[in-house]
């Protein structure tokens, strides 16, 4: 039936007289197309000799010419050295031992340089002091090539000559000295004998110098407690390898607790040997990396932790205290007391509470136990910050008593909780000088900004632990017109000595003793003999001591009383923490670190407030996954002591102690940063009184935040064959077929072990090298240093927040984190096995839904996943162009230039390790990280191809490194020794979780590991025969 309804698109159509409607009815365009400009000039047009045919000829010719020109290769220039340095051979890497000491991270490292430019940080295995380079230290090499670095000295933001700075500063210092006005030196922790001596000399010359050490994230309580007990402002050292039982009250010992570096010792004790491994109990509020690795994790708010610590102390002394803690914690304390009683000297207790009482109690307990893991004799100097002095300085500044303020390695305008006070004070300072590598919140406020050296361009020395010295040597000449503080101080003191000479002198008189300078410089570390140490420490300590103070001892029993009576100030408790990937935020401009996913939340490019599920429900806060796979979260306003920070994204964190919330420091830097790097929210304003525990109120605010979360599936869903786990008891008493079951498959209607069935014919792999990699889930703490090391070695691009959110991250190596849905993974397995039918109580429909939710206090497991280099690789069989193929040495090889980007291989990979280059990430300003500028590109490894758009890439098992090892051996005409074959990840892992080697070498470590009872392959039932294998995770659940 014909309809006479009239449809209209626009109100104007209803008006029949509308000229536009009429015009549109006749013509496609309302207005005439303006062709008059080039066709209007009839005269000219007719006079021209160029007709249509000519035009086509020109087009054709120019197209052809352009096409022909493209066939010609470009002329490449090559510029050799004029005078080639003796030890630089193009194409051969040099290694220099140095030390990082940036005030937050302290580690002995080796720096790999190629053609004179540092490209990679490795662990210095010669260092006796444990603690390898963490993710931030690994990334620090990229900060050297930061394109936003300051390139010369500035006065009020304008470039200025060194002469004028030197003259001005010297004149000012002299006049202040005569006027008797304070010259303040506000610096990071150096832990450097030479710097300490130099500052003392500086003080001698200008009498009114006041040196204040300031740590952005303070360990003041621990330092004060140690000082009160042992008379020296330092931190006790711990060796967790020695401990059978580790009890931690909120101490993130695997991340940055008391300067960090404890994870390698911890991991060594965690691998079951002769049926024994350490047991780790963690009381904590936030789900930390440490808590995730603990055998037993007890979620408690910081206030409850204090009470629990007091109770433990009392119980160990057979007494009792007041204070209420939940019943489960009470039970835990009791069982721990018994276990400590059994182990005595093999037990250790630590705390991360910024409370002098708590720290004092812990020292008392460890001393009482005579803990082997506890070392107060040779303490560590990696944190020296003194809160009292910082506060005094700010007060002095505000009172106008400070004449000059010289700052180095600190950014107080960003990191101080009371930055406004500081800003007010700095106005009243006559002369302010900041040494900084970048333009920051603080440099904005100061008169002079001295562009400072990166540590890879500097000289220096360290004493990380008493008697353990390290040297910092430059690995490259200053890239820009920069100067380090020590050189400037020497200059301002009128000395013509270089800082290098100064260190050498200090070392020959104070440090080396019988030792040899060249050897120490070569090794990067020097360990003093025991008798030398005593004298040294006295001289150095005398210098370090800022002002003589009477040290008040802390009475332990009153400390315990104070702890036991701890109450929260109402509201929720906020536990501020530092992320393994960001630390105190001084490397916030580093794209590798920004893209590094947090090991627990798997979120990159952000910080957020972590809230327990219960609290989130009460406050109406939500997290949800949206259609494109991204994670969205609510915003909240956080108020501490009347200070509010607005619109902090919320992440609901399984395991967060109800009543507590967590937030990472170090994010939210803005000034002098690329817009891409300005991520997260600054939490320092909440860091009141330099205490990492605050009373906070949360309020939901409008809007949703888009996270860049790398892992959306949180639980293991009872798939026990992905992460195999058992308890120490079962591991010790039962056969491995019980706890490390080989999956069964059906063959000819019979159940047979999957390892015996094969769809393919196997090749003989017994000849030559056959590389295997072993990953021990017990030793792996999930710290992620391997992720950064892999990226640095293999030129893995940074893709940015938006792309990560679209699951297009390029990391060749990822660390999967799984939560359990029940309290333990084992209960998950049981629950899944007991599913019966689709619906009902034990129905799988509802059951699987439940299993997607992590428990309130879940078990956590980490699993590093890279290409498994399957001997029967599913990716190889589907590639239409044979771009991926298998080598005899076991590596699954990827020829990028052959790849056409069909991505069949990525689809067919059961481990999902293949990464597709959606874009050209280098030389592309859309990806403004480091591969689009000449400076940032200097960090690229010249031995590895930089991939282009449209190809698949993946872990190559560092074939460039294995090939180099083989070639070195061939050149020397020798066979290869076990341990020579390394990958970037295995070298970076100081925990010993990743071992790499040649299984055909019968005597190798890897061959031994492959025979271990704990060995299993990932998804064995698929029959891919991977060359990467894992070791079953064993948990020590033994109760006393």
């Amino acid at each position: 039936m014909a309809s006479n309804k009239k449809y209209w698109k626009n109100e104007a159509e209803l008006n029949p007289n509308d000229s536009i409607v009429e015009a549109l009815r006749q013509n496609e365009f309302v207005q005439e197309i303006p062709v008059d400009e080039f066709l209007g000039d009839k005269e000219n047009l007719s006079a021209t000799n160029t007709d249509r045919r000519d035009f086509l000829k020109y087009v054709g010719f120019s197209t052809a010419a352009a096409a022909m020109a493209a066939c010609e290769g470009p002329v490449r220039r090559s510029i050799p050295y004029v005078v080639q340095p003796e030890n630089i051979i193009p194409g051969v890497a040099n290694y220099y031992a140095t030390t990082i000491a940036n005030g937050f991270d302290f580690a002995s490292i080796l720096v790999k340089t190629r053609e004179g430019r540092p490209i990679k940080v490795e662990n210095n295995t010669d260092a006796k002091l444990k603690g390898g380079a963490n993710a931030r230290v690994q990334s620090s090499v990229l900060s050297l090539y930061d394109s936003t670095r300051l390139q010369g000295p500035l006065k009020d933001g304008e470039p200025v000559e060194w002469n004028s700075i030197d003259a001005d500063v010297k004149a000012k210092l002299n006049s202040l000295n005569t006027a008797g006005k304070q010259i303040a030196l506000l610096t990071q922790t150096y832990a450097s004998p030479s710097t300490a001596k130099l500052i003392a000399e500086f003080k001698e010359m200008y009498g009114t110098v006041n040196h204040v050490t300031y740590d952005a994230i303070s360990e003041d309580a621990a330092l004060s407690a140690f000082e009160a007990r042992y008379g020296e402002r330092a931190l006790a050292d711990y060796n967790f390898e020695e401990a059978n039982i580790i009890v931690s009250f909120g101490a993130d010992i695997l991340v940055d607790w008391q300067g960090g570096g404890y994870d390698s010792g911890y991991s060594k004790g965690r691998v079951p040997k002769n049926g024994k491994m350490s047991k780790h109990v963690q009381f904590e509020a936030n789900m930390s990396l440490t808590g995730a690795n603990a055998d037993k994790r007890i979620p408690l708010t910081p206030m409850q932790q204090k009470v629990a610590l007091a109770q433990l102390y009392a119980k160990l002394n057979g007494a009792s205290t007041s204070g209420e803690i939940p019943e489960y914690a009470q039970r835990a304390i009791e069982s721990i007391t018994q276990e400590i009683g059994k182990n005595k000297s093999a037990a250790v207790v630590v705390t991360g509470l910024q409370d002098v009482n708590a720290q004092a109690v812990v020292l008392a307990i460890n001393e009482m136990l005579g803990s082997k893991a506890f070392d107060a004799k040779a303490p560590k100097y990696v944190r020296q910050g003194n809160v009292k002095n910082v506060n005094a300085l700010i007060a002095d500044m505000k009172a106008g008593n400070v004449g000059a303020l010289i700052m180095d390695g600190v950014n107080p305008m960003f990191t101080l909780p009371n930055a406004t006070d500081f800003a007010e004070g700095i106005e009243k300072v006559d002369l302010s000088v900041t040494f900084s590598t970048n333009w920051t919140e603080t440099t904005e406020m100061t008169n002079y900004t001295v562009a400072s050296n990166h540590f890879l361009e500097s000289w220096g020395d360290t004493q990380i632990k008493k008697g353990h010295y390290g040297l910092i040597q430059p690995t490259i000449k200053e890239l820009f017109d920069t100067r380090q503080l020590q050189s400037a101080l020497l200059q301002w003191m009128g000395s013509d000595k270089s800082y290098y000479d100064y260190i050498k002198e200090t070392w020959s008189t104070d440090v080396l003793g019988e030792g040899d300078w060249n050897q120490a410089l070569h090794d990067g570390v020097f360990t003093a003999g025991s008798n030398v140490v005593e004298e040294l420490v006295e001289t150095v300590a005398a210098v370090v001591e800022v002002e003589e103070e009477t040290i008040s001892t802390i009475d332990v029993s009153s400390a315990v009383r104070n702890l036991a009576s701890a109450t929260s100030g109402g509201g929720m408790e906020l536990r501020l923490y530092s992320k393994v990937g960001m630390g105190d935020g001084q490397q916030a401009g580093n794209p590798w670190l920004q893209e590094f996913p947090d090991p627990i939340s798997r979120v990159s490019w952000d910080n957020y407030v972590t809230v327990s599920k219960v609290d989130a429900e009460n406050l109406g806060l939500i997290n949800e996954n949206v259609a494109n796979g991204g994670l969205d979260g609510s915003y909240t306003n956080l108020t501490v002591n009347g200070i509010t920070i607005e619109n902090v994204p919320v992440l609901i964190q399984p395991g967060q102690a109800p009543g507590s919330v967590g937030m990472a420091l170090g994010y939210g830097r803005q000034v002098g940063m690329k817009s891409e790097m300005q991520t997260g929210v600054n939490a320092y304003p909440l860091y009141q009184g330099y205490n990492n525990v605050q009373s906070v109120t949360l309020e939901k605010s409008a809007g949703t935040h888009e996270f860049a979360c790398m892992q959306l599936h949180n639980t293991l869903m009872g798939r026990g064959d992905i992460i195999k786990e058992t308890t120490l008891e079962i591991f010790n008493t039962k056969d491995h077929s019980e706890w490390n079951k080989v999956p069964m498959v059906s063959l000819n209607h019979q159940e047979v072990p999957a390892t015996t069935v094969d769809l393919w014919d196997s090749f003989d792999r017994s000849i030559g090298h056959h590389f295997n990699m072993s990953i021990d889930l017990n030793a792996c703490t999930g710290c992620g240093v391997c992720v950064i090391a892999c990226g640095a070695e293999n030129n893995v691009p940074v893709v940015g927040k938006e792309e990560v959110r679209r699951s297009r991250d390029m990391h060749w190596l990822r660390i999967d984190r799984y939560y359990s849905s029940e309290d333990t993974f084992e209960e998950d397995n049981v629950k899944k096995d007991e599913f019966d039918g689709l619906s009902g109580d034990k129905g799988s429909l509802g059951g699987f839904g439940e299993m997607e939710d992590p428990a309130t206090n879940p078990q956590v497991a980490f699993q590093p996943i890279m290409c498994q280099h399957c001997n029967h690789a599913p990716c190889e069989t589907v590639c239409p162009v044979a771009a991926t193929s298998h080598g005899r040495q076991g590596q699954n090889q990827m020829a990028y230039n052959r790849c056409v980007g069909t991505r069949y291989c990525a689809n067919n990979c059961p481990y999902k390790v293949r990464r597709f280059n959606w874009f050209l990430y280098n030389n592309n300003d859309e990806f403004n990280y480091h591969m689009n500028n000449d400076l940032g590109k200097m960090v690229l490894n010249p031995d590895v191809n930089v991939r282009s758009r449209g190809v698949i890439e993946k872990c190559s098992m560092c074939i460039q490194k294995t090939q180099k090892t083989i070639l070195d051996a061939k050149r020397d005409g020798r066979s290869i020794i076990d341990g020579e074959f390394q990958t970037a990840c295995s070298m970076a892992c100081s925990n010993g979780a990743i071992i790499f080697g040649d299984v055909n070498d019968g005597n190798s470590k890897i061959a031994e590991l492959k025979e271990s009872d704990r060995m299993y392959h990932l998804l064995e039932s698929v029959g891919t025969k991977p060359n990467v294998f894992y070791h079953v995770k064993v948990r020590n659940n033994n109760e006393a």
Binding site: C71, G73, V75, R76, R77, S78, I79, P80, Y81, V82, V83, Q84, I89, P90, G91, V92, D764, S766, I767, G768, A883, S885, G887, R888, Q889, Q891, Q893, M894, A895, Y896, N897, R898, D943, V944, N945, V946, S956, I959, Q960, Q963, I966, L967, A969, K970, R971, D972, G973, R974, S975, I976
Partner: protein
Amino acid sequence: MKKVIYRNQISKVLGISLVVFLLFSISIFAQDEPATGSSGDPVKGKTLFNQNCAACHSLTRKMTGPPLANIESRLSEDEGLDREWLNAWIKNSAGMIKSGDAYGNKIYTEYAQAPMTAFPTLSDTDIDDILAYTAAPPPAPVAVAVTVDSKDGSAKSSDITNELILGALIVVFALLIMMLILVKKTLKRFAIAKGVDLDEAYAGKGLSLWKAFVQNQFLVLVTSIFLLLAAAYFAFGWMMQVGIDQGYEPIQPIHYSHKIHAGDNKIECKYCHSSARVSKQSGIPSLNVCMNCHKSIYEYQGNPEGPTKEDLANGYTNEFYTGEIQKLYKAVGWDEENQKYTGETQPVEWVQVHNLPDLVYFDHSQHVSVAEIECQTCHGPVEEMEIVSQYSPLTMGWCINCHKETNVKVEGNEYYTKIHEELSKKYGVDQLTAAQMGGLECGKCHY
């Protein structure tokens, strides 16, 4: 006929060049005759001088040390120093400086306080010989020879022969064609004279060849298929050449002649390209390596007979080469006058001849040190190249062919002992090729 005549010419050229050669040999000897009546043997002296002194001294110019021409007479005339002094100085100059010898100290200060190496091993006779050599007048600039030497002459004349043969052939063919045309014309004239109508004569003899061809469809089809295939073959071949720069011969900022260095002077490749032994890169030598020799070699005298005709045609005169050495001095900042570095350097921007794409990893040391392959295998006769050009195609097929054909050099290399034993048993061969060793796997070169 002509060829025979030319053969006589060749022998003439040979004869003349032999004469020239002999003449020059004589003149060389003549220069070495002692000019003054010194007791030493200047010929021996020259050898000794080149062995011991030439690194720091020249006869006529300042180098690290002072010029030594007529040093003995100059010393006695200007400074009143005798032979004793000179002997003592040569044997232990440092001692003399220490003992406060006036002239010794003066020289020492003048030449940047660089002490002269002591030569206690030189006997008095040796010193006599050296002094006799220095007393001989410095060699006069060699007259530019216009004739060619015998070796070059023969090479050149063979080139000429080829050209002449070709020319002669062309003439012969031209004559033949002319004769044929003439014959045809004559025959036509005969035919017309005899009254034969040529058009009529051919009219009945069927179609012409072309028309017959066009009418034969099968033949047309086959031909066009053949032509298409041939076109495709050549087009493919041409397109596969895109990006292959075999024969690429760029002009370099300094005309560095590998022919003179590696060919005439037989300098080992790896003396300059030393990193080829240990690194993936063969390395362009840094300028300080050049200066190892060119501190004392400041002018080109490589061909005492003067440049050849061919060189002259290209402008490669001795002055030209000396000018190139000057370019080196400028780049490296070498003040020839005062024999020291000024510190003002201008790094040389060489044009890379061999460009492997980034997607391939090639390691020189693997091939040079482990496999002990001659550089020439891939780079061609560099020692004959005045300007270096890319000799090999550097394509993947070229690499693979070599890997398939070349045996791995396993003798004396402990690394290979085990794998060679096992693999050769597996493949049943005595010698393994690089391919059998795994040298064809993608990942060995692409990562």
